[in-house]
């Protein structure tokens, strides 16, 4: 099927997004994006979108189904709150890529900036290069795969996200610890690498996750201990 071309040098953002929102199927190529913000945000149909060039903030934000391929770099919040479907970028993504994502797959072939996968809620993120500081901060569910290195405070205040890093980790954040790589984790990683079309050996990765020490407040009760005849 021939892709429909949407030229941002002659159309407005509203016109381009409106066309994508009205579509129920088909393929679209967006030309001359020139760093436009909120491009291809809110896609709600099984369409394929290719963006030829760099995009601004929140490209493919709240993506729900279909695929978005960015041939270039992306600014803040790429595929933020992605629900399902696939978003792929050939270049680098700035901070907060995949933030709060609830499902689907985000593939970053280059590097990701700070807070990649912040507050992620089920999305799978595969990064071909490095991730910046505080990646997966407060992550709740899903998987973050990093083929390169991770910067400081990886996985700070983590809930139930699995983080797989092939390279070095500058430091782990609060309550994030190295964990055993069991067979089910190898299976997950193998599946994600294949889905992302990344060539890497799962055996080279280390898994990190939550120590679960921050899940509940630690409340002392000296009076109750004394009443029970204990305490010292």
């Amino acid at each position: 099927m021939t892709a429909t071309t949407l030229d941002l040098s002659t159309s407005t953002l509203r016109e381009v997004n409106g066309t994508l929102h009205a579509a129920t199927d088909g393929s679209f190529t967006i030309t001359h994006p020139r760093g436009a913000h909120a491009l291809a945000a809110g896609i709600d149909a099984p369409i394929d979108v290719e963006i030829d060039g760099p995009v601004g903030y929140y490209c493919a934000g709240m993506h729900k189904t279909g695929t978005v391929l960015v041939k270039g770099n992306a600014s803040t919040g790429l595929a933020e709150n992605i629900m399902s479907g696939t978003v792929r970028i050939t270049g680098n993504a700035m901070m907060s890529a995949g933030a709060t994502g609830c499902g689907g797959l985000l593939v970053i072939e280059g590097n990701a900036g700070a807070r990649c996968g912040i507050s992620m809620k089920g999305v799978d993120i595969v990064v071909g290069g490095n991730v910046g500081h505080m990646s997966a901060f407060m992550g709740q569910a899903g998987n973050l795969v990093v083929l390169g290195d991770a910067a400081e405070d990886l996985g700070d205040s983590l809930y139930e996200v699995d983080i797989f890093v092939r390279g070095s980790v500058a430091s782990l954040g609060s309550d994030c610890v190295e964990k055993e790589m069991r067979p089910e984790h190898v299976d997950t990683l193998t599946r994600l690498l294949a889905a992302a079309e990344m060539d890497a050996d799962p055996a080279d990765f280390t898994r990190y996750g939550s120590a679960r020490e921050l899940y509940n407040f630690h409340v002392d009760d000296i009076d109750a201990e004394l009443a029970a005849g204990g305490a010292s």
Binding site: M62, S96, S119, M138
Partner: protein, 439 residues
Amino acid sequence: MTDQPWNLRESYTYDRNVIAEIRRAANTGIYRIRGWGAKRELPTLDDLVFLGASMSRYPLEGYREACGTDVTIGADTSENPVQLDIPITIAGMSFGSLSANAKEALGRGASAVGTSTTTGDGGMTPEERGHSTKLVYQYLPSRYGMNPDDLRKADAIEVVVGQGAKPGGGGMLMGQKITERVAEMRTLPEGIDQRSACRHPDWTGPDDLEIKIIELREITGHRVPVYVKVGAARPYYDTALAVKAGADAVVVDGMQGGTAATQDVFIEHVGIPTIAAIPEAVRALQDLDVHRGSVKLIAAGGIRSGADVGKALALGADAVSIGTAALIAIGDNDPKYEADYNALGTSAGYWEDFQAGNDPAGITTQDPELSARLDPVIGGRRLANYLKVLSVEAQTIARACGKSHVHNLEPEDLAALTVEAAAMAKVPIAGTSWIPGQG
């Protein structure tokens, strides 16, 4: 203290509340977490009075002459602006902090009188959408339950930057309220003590927020207005920046604003009172030439009566928002549960442990048996009645000041009873023309 012998003198610095808190902290090693709002004495709208018409002003007949109460938000930007019949809205309160029956009651009550209710930190439930004719969807730092389907079902979007009870802080939901349904909606493990993020994950300042609002408008097809809510701390700058970011309405929540759960030290010591926040927010809107125009101001925090509504509007707000008062209207702190309150070591009128999940009134709980105590139909009727009273009281005062719409109330209709209130509200001390700081 009148209940003690006359020779006993309680310390002002270390009164019994202070001593109890020191002892509690020493026993548990954790800060006090509670619900409700600030309990200490603060400058309030009670420190203002209206200057009703007499010889120099001409009143309207109370029951015969029209006095409008409608508010429209987002007319310049949205295909479907929010049109409120009364200038009183229901503030954001989450399913999770509140029971499903409580959320339904709020929706029913608000809808009955043509105003809006608001989701909270936990997403939108089908029950509240179904029972709310005008539902504002909060877009919070945590993004719990956030999804584009619900976003598109909303009648407005409220980007929450802060809350009056805790400007600069995030929400809390204690483990006893993280039930299976709440945990699933928020993608959290059951039973954890949830501490929500205090800042948004994908934007960090007003320039970013401007782009975020563009994204939200794109995803929703520019159909609904976008509000920005801030806790009152620096309302002049926060309001100006919210306008710059493209907000259709700015919600300014003073420190009397309530919460389902946060640190007591936050509730009592962070933020500024509502009476001080409104005039500064209005000044920002006036400086940007949008006051009473394209950007609306919604004031919140300790609004309890039609007098409060009228005073907030006279200071320049376009509408108000209520939370704690709405919960009281549907049954919070009901004396009929006095025995249950006593069993929890408290009393009706004092209950503030919204975080605990054992609310005798069945409002701030996820316990099925307690939740069943609140009939959402009856609760909705009570709220509708209360909202009617607030609206009619505000109209009554507006007419007495000679106004054919509550928005025609103005600072000139007010006088202050204290120097502090005069300075904060920027209206003269009663019987004088003196406004502190203005010569």
